[in-house]
Symmetry: C2
Subunit: 344 residues, 2 copies
């Protein structure tokens, strides 16, 4: 399986997995909300805030009626790849409890090979993310990482990285010091095995907290980058999307920058490609839009698609997940892509 | 608050709650499925089967990726009434565990007064219902009642029944012997306090298992009945919906019989009223359609609506819940009803 994109993704022999994701396994607890609640809770709209268990319980108590659905940024992405028919794996840390069992069930049921680091049940428990969805379909998140907070190099199953074409890291991992070491180990193992590394910037505030780490990763290690407009502007400390895109072009990485309803732009060393968004009857919840865009794009890149068609597949996957509450696809994405003529 | 429907609902002084529901609190674990899986599991399509914890775990393992959402038939109904702005209560039995906490949160957050009988966490745990949704939007359920199976008269808070205009019983309770006694106690308390009793038939096979109990309840105790076509035909052991409706008319009860996409027919001693269904862009999951129809109808009946308008409100509430996975409303039903001109 070779990659035909005109950039320096490492060539490699046939592999067993298209993509392995590394990130925090989370159960999303989703409720509709209004702006007043976010203000009262002191949560920055559209962002992710880390909270401890007590704060999570207080926020939960103030939320309306909920649905629970497996989440986690990188986990959502590999779930999407599996739903497209790709070979995907996931590495993350859960506790031996009900929330961890639900997460494990869902990611395995969709066809992802889950290499779980399982620790005994504690008061902290498996990670959960409180997701408040406002009427403008924007989502604001308060995450209690639970035992995922301790994700460390010893939790990393290097063998699954070694047999993956792309190792995909969620930027949120930079918020967890031991996870940073695990990321470095994963990057080294991926490159050692002639694999490529993809990274998502995850969240504007996360970029603000770890700007230099992200820049180093992108300039020196990663072959692929996923971000939205806010995140990329934060990374390059500019108010101009154009200036941020120029900066990316200088680095020479392949970057897929999502622009919400305006679609996305794929930046490559040989130029930029604009991809339109897919129309959605009603945008209910944008949570997972970026994760599922990455799923389609990564599926394309590992299946000899050019960047334009990979972007179209990403836009299609994103369109499925924003039509309902929850960041995991409810439809079989392979069927949708076949209908849309994006898969053969 | 008086009831203007031309039937013998007991008149009563102003009350504190419009409706109190009594039933099994459940967490629904919902996944899309195909007919082949139902056959392999030996589950009758469209029905509810009671299973023990081991069987529930085996079924869960064979299901695809899931969402979790609070459920339980009577609980869904009172949640809908609260979402319409009505005053609603719920009585049910949960364990002191994560599933019970999620259920409690959701029903309280939507505005229902929840009188929980809470027992210590056990291996059985709080109740959960595995819901398999096929492409025809039909749902097939395997329910592990957990500690709800032990719901008994001692769990019944009579005072909440006494201050409710209508006491609403889900027919599924007949499957639990001690719950049968609790139902009888609730019926007696409701009538003693000049309240009315409503009952839903719940499930065709449940009616088959307890036909005589249902008939006695309907002929001698209840003022209001909710059922669908299959259930009412099963009750009167006929293949003809017309014959079943005639039999209901003989009994002299007010009955709202849902007919799926054909809407519903309200049977009253003074004649029948046909109510059209509300068009839905895409029917995703019919789970909760009957429960939410009952919510709108009961709200209407406790707010001086005539049966036709109560039926229209019921149809509107049902239309919201069948447009997404999960049997609890995701939109504020009061807002929807105001938009539709069904509330002032």
């Amino acid at each position: 399986m070779s990659i035909t994109v005109p950039v320096s993704l490492s060539p490699r022999p046939p592999v067993f997995l298209d993509v392995v994701g590394i990130g925090s396994p989370l159960l999303d607890i989703v409720a509709r909300s209004d702006d007043a609640l976010l203000e009262r809770l002191g949560l920055a709209k559209g962002s992710m805030t880390l909270v401890d268990r007590d704060a999570a319980e207080a926020i939960h108590a103030s939320m309306g009626t909920t649905i629970q659905v497996s989440g986690g940024s990188a986990a959502n992405t590999v779930a999407g790849i599996a739903s497209l028919g790709g070979a995907a794996g996931f590495i993350g840390r859960i506790a031996d409890d009900e929330v961890g069992a639900l997460f494990s069930h869902d990611i395995s049921a969709i066809g992802v090979e889950f290499e779980a680091a399982v620790v005994p049940a504690t008061h902290e428990g498996s990670g959960r993310c409180l997701v408040m969805v406002t009427d403008d379909a924007q989502r604001t998140m308060a995450t209690h990482l639970g035992v995922a907070n301790g994700f460390a190099p010893s939790d990393l199953d290097i063998s699954i990285v070694e047999r993956s074409q792309i190792t995909y890291l969620e930027g949120y991992l930079f918020d967890q010091p031991p996870a940073k070491d695990a990321m470095r180990a994963a990057v080294a193992a991926a490159h050692e095995a002639d694999g490529s590394v993809a990274v998502s910037l995850s969240d504007r505030f996360c970029v603000e907290r770890h700007r230099q780490d992200f820049l180093t990763l992108i300039e020196e290690e990663a072959e692929l980058l996923f971000a939205n407009e806010d995140e990329i502007k934060e990374l390059f400390e500019t108010r101009s999307t154009e200036a941020a895109l120029d900066a990316l072009e200088q680095i020479g990485i392949v970057a897929a920058i999502t622009l919400g309803a305006k679609g996305c732009v794929v930046v490559t060393p040989s130029g930029r490609i604009d991809v339109a968004a897919v129309n959605v009857a009603e945008v209910v919840d944008t949570n997972g839009a970026g994760d599922l865009f990455a799923a389609g794009f990564l599926y394309g890149m590992t299946h000899n698609y050019d960047p334009a068609r990979s972007g179209e597949l990403g836009a299609l996957c994103a369109s499925e997940v924003i039509g309902h509450l929850g960041a995991r696809p409810q439809r079989n994405l392979r069927d949708l892509a076949l209908e849309a003529g994006l898969l053969d």
